[in-house]
């Protein structure tokens, strides 16, 4: 186990632990903030896999935009009966089924990957330079990329339409 692997394991534990906290925390804001930690740790994992570009995009988009958006939504939807900054977020009645399902899914996927890729190793070559990604994106993937821009535009329009209040619709 070399240094990279040690760091990766530490980040993994951080990511999984904070994800667990995010999904079980009773306070909505804490959940969102734990998610930030998870996303940051995953970004760190990306860096360790030399996918730097993906890592920074992850931080920029997820932490900078998505989480801020989520926190904004949490603030806007704070219900009156709840007090203070922490909005309680109980879990539903079927949480035990959900927990069992989660564990089964995780264990099943883990077992499958162990069975399938047990001995494989990632070589230490750099894969995530901006040049190589950009090259791939704008040669082989240019059509999906353009279609994606259309999807984003549609989502933008949809979000605006949905968010307009009823009176001026």
């Amino acid at each position: 186990m070399n240094a990279t692997e040690v760091v990766f394991v530490v980040l993994s534990v951080l990511a999984a632990g904070s994800a667990l906290l995010a999904m079980t925390s009773r306070q909505l804001v804490h959940a969102a903030l734990w998610l930030v930690v998870t996303l940051g740790a995953v970004a760190g994992c990306f860096v360790l896999m030399t996918a730097e570009f993906i890592a920074w995009v992850q931080v920029l988009v997820y932490v900078g935009a998505v989480v801020v958006l989520v926190i904004f939504a949490l603030m806007l939807t704070r219900q009156g009966r709840e007090q203070g900054s922490g909005t309680t977020a109980e879990v539903t009645g079927n949480r035990w089924i959900a927990a069992v399902l989660g564990v089964v899914a995780a264990v099943g996927l883990g077992a499958t990957t162990i069975a399938g890729f047990g001995g494989e190793r990632i070589e230490g070559r750099r894969i995530g330079t901006a040049a190589s990604i950009g090259d791939a994106l704008f040669t082989d993937w240019v059509l999906p990329f353009e279609i994606l821009s259309g999807v984003l535009l549609a989502a933008l329009v949809g979000a605006i339409v949905l968010s307009r209040s009823g009176s001026d619709r």
Binding site: T92, N94, I97, A98, L101, V104, A105, G108
Partner: protein, 577 residues
């Protein structure tokens, strides 16, 4: 104002188009097809095709021109008569719609198109009778007209279906061609057509709706309930005549209906105290005369009289409208002495009454003469109608001629002569009684001229002509003499004044019958039929309560079930493989 003339413009455009189409066909004797749209493999339209299949028969061009001509005049007339009404726009547009429907009925050879036009006319009639829907009388009249004509229309629908099933085509010409090869089901078709005609043309026993339609605006009465729509019934009888001409039953039934109606209508017209209602009964009577011509096997005479009657009855109704506008009522008691104040109306209506009475040289005389001549010819018994029936019909027609002349004269006298009954505070006419405006008087003059012009080129049958003239003059003279002797011309036996209580079945018995039957049906429905739906309902409710357990309206439960399913499938897949 400009908007009102805009509607006139629309009508005028319609009239010009129809004229361009129909005028070249005026003198034609042969059938000319102007087919728009596809024809079926055998030349006729495929079953229930709705291509317009426009066609001009000999004689239909005149009816088309009559319809659009009167329509245009009525539209012009209405600008003054009804122009300030808040719902003038719908009124004017319904007239245009009506005219289009009329063109469809007269101009098509496809029975389904004819039916559509027929029903649209019924709808327009309903809308226009109920134009003043603020008044309960108008609402009731509109509903009555609608219901009665709808019942009769069932006859037309069934007639069309029977024709289609019998001759394999819904094309009139095609059916006639097939009929000339092998006539079939003449009686059935004829009776069904007769039902339709009786309803639309307000013949006995479905005649009661027409007088009740009088709350409609007077120009509408002139257009729809005198000149065109009710005439369309007679037109249909004439158009389809060939299909049932072989059936003596139908012809006899038609003759009986015509005989009863013409005398009854004339007598009722005599006893009326309301000018407009009297004219309505007169229309019923005159339509019966046309139907009589069809019954004796001379539909051309019938359509000719239809044309002439359309013109002079439109004239009379429009004139009646002028009088009503002037005195503010249609009651005869409020009229009288109008001839000096309203000279144009007086002279034009005089022409109209003359035509109604059948006096030379108006068109009414010549066409009525043709009808009488046709009836007289049928008395030899070889024209499908039994000789006895034809004799009875002839006698009734002559009596009717006398009564018609009498009531026409009575109406003329009561409206225009005398001192003016009760119109003003001291038995004199009010100051505001004056001649109608140009937009109203103009159409009157045009129609009056047409009343004379149409007699040009009409055949003259000397025997019947002389006879009918004598009878008519006798009727006129009798009334004039009575009036000169100071009679109020109010001779009205009770049964006649009550219109023989013929409306009673409609207003009471049928109502009571319907109510009783409805009660039975409702009980039956509630106690017997409803058992099944109720049982089904409770069954469905039980099932849905069971299924509802799965429909928790909670997305997460659905997602959970979904995830469980996916995991189970994967596990099974792994285990099996």
């Amino acid at each position: 104002m400009i908007r009102r003339w805009g509607y006139v413009g629309i009508t005028a455009v319609l009239a010009v188009v129809v004229a361009i189409w129909a005028v070249p066909e005026l003198g034609r004797d042969t059938v000319t097809f102007v087919t728009i749209g596809q024809t079926g493999p055998d030349g006729g339209p495929p079953l229930p095709s709705l291509s317009p299949d426009l066609l001009i028969y000999p004689g239909t061009a005149q009816i088309l021109l009559l319809a659009v001509g009167v329509g245009l005049l009525v539209q012009i007339y209405s600008t003054a008569y009804l122009g300030h009404h808040p719902r003038y726009r719908s009124y004017a547009l319904v007239i245009v719609l009506f005219l289009i429907a009329m063109i469809a009925v007269v101009g098509t050879t496809n029975l389904w198109v004819l039916l559509v036009g027929w029903e649209v006319m019924g709808l327009c009639s309903y809308l226009l009778i109920g134009h003043e829907w603020e008044s309960p009388v108008a609402r009731a009249g509109a509903a009555k007209a609608f219901l009665v004509t709808r019942i009769a229309d069932l006859g037309l629908v069934m007639a069309i279906i029977v024709i289609g099933e019998t001759y394999g085509t819904y094309d009139i010409v095609g059916a006639q061609v097939a009929q000339s090869e092998q006539p079939r089901h003449a009686t059935l078709i004829g009776l069904l057509v007769l039902v339709a005609v009786v309803g639309k043309s307000a013949q006995f026993p479905l005649h009661t709706w027409l007088p009740d339609a009088m709350p409609g605006p007077t120009p509408i009465t002139a257009l729809i309930h005198a000149a065109t729509m009710v005439a369309a019934g007679v037109y249909l009888a004439a158009r389809l005549f060939q299909l049932y001409a072989d059936s003596q039953v139908v012809l006899t039934a038609m003759a009986v209906v015509a005989a009863i109606t013409m005398l009854m209508g004339a007598l009722f017209a005599w006893v009326q105290t309301d000018l407009k209602r009297a004219l309505a009964w007169s229309t019923v009577s005159q339509l019966a005369l046309m139907l009589a011509a069809v019954a004796v096997g001379d539909p051309e005479a019938g359509t000719d009289h239809l044309l002439a009657h359309g013109v002079f009855k439109a004239l009379l109704f429009l004139g009646c409208g002028c009088v009503m506008l002037a005195v503010g009522s249609s009651a005869l008691s409020s009229m009288g002495g109008l001839r000096r104040r309203m000279p144009v109306t007086f002279w034009t209506m005089t022409a109209g009454f003359a035509a109604l009475a059948g006096l030379v040289p108006t068109a009414g005389f010549f066409t009525k003469d043709s009808v009488l001549h046709a009836i007289e010819r049928a008395t030899d018994g070889d024209r499908g109608l039994a000789a006895g029936t034809a004799w009875v019909l002839l006698v009734v027609a002559l009596v009717t001629t006398f009564v018609t002349a009498a009531y026409a004269t009575r109406l003329w006298v009561l409206t225009f002569f005398g001192a003016g009954h009760g119109a003003g505070p001291h038995g004199t006419l009010g100051q505001d009684v004056r001649e109608a405006p140009l937009a109203m008087a103009g159409p009157l003059v045009v129609l009056a001229v047409a009343t004379f012009a149409l007699s040009v080129g009409q055949p003259l049958h000397l025997g019947t002509g002389l006879l009918s003239t004598v009878i008519a003059v006798a009727g006129v003279a009798a009334v004039l003499v009575a009036a000169r002797r100071g009679s109020t011309l109010a001779w009205a036996p009770r049964p006649l004044a009550a219109e023989l209580w013929l409306d009673r079945p409609f207003s009471r018995w049928i109502l009571a019958l319907g109510t009783g039957a409805s009660r039975v049906v409702v009980e039956l429905d509630r106690e017997v039929v409803d058992v099944y739906p109720r049982g089904g309902e409770s069954l469905a409710a039980t099932i849905s309560r069971g299924l509802g357990l799965a429909q928790s309206r909670n997305v997460q439960r659905y997602a959970t079930v979904l995830a469980v399913g996916v995991v189970m499938l994967v596990v099974i897949g792994v285990v099996v493989s």
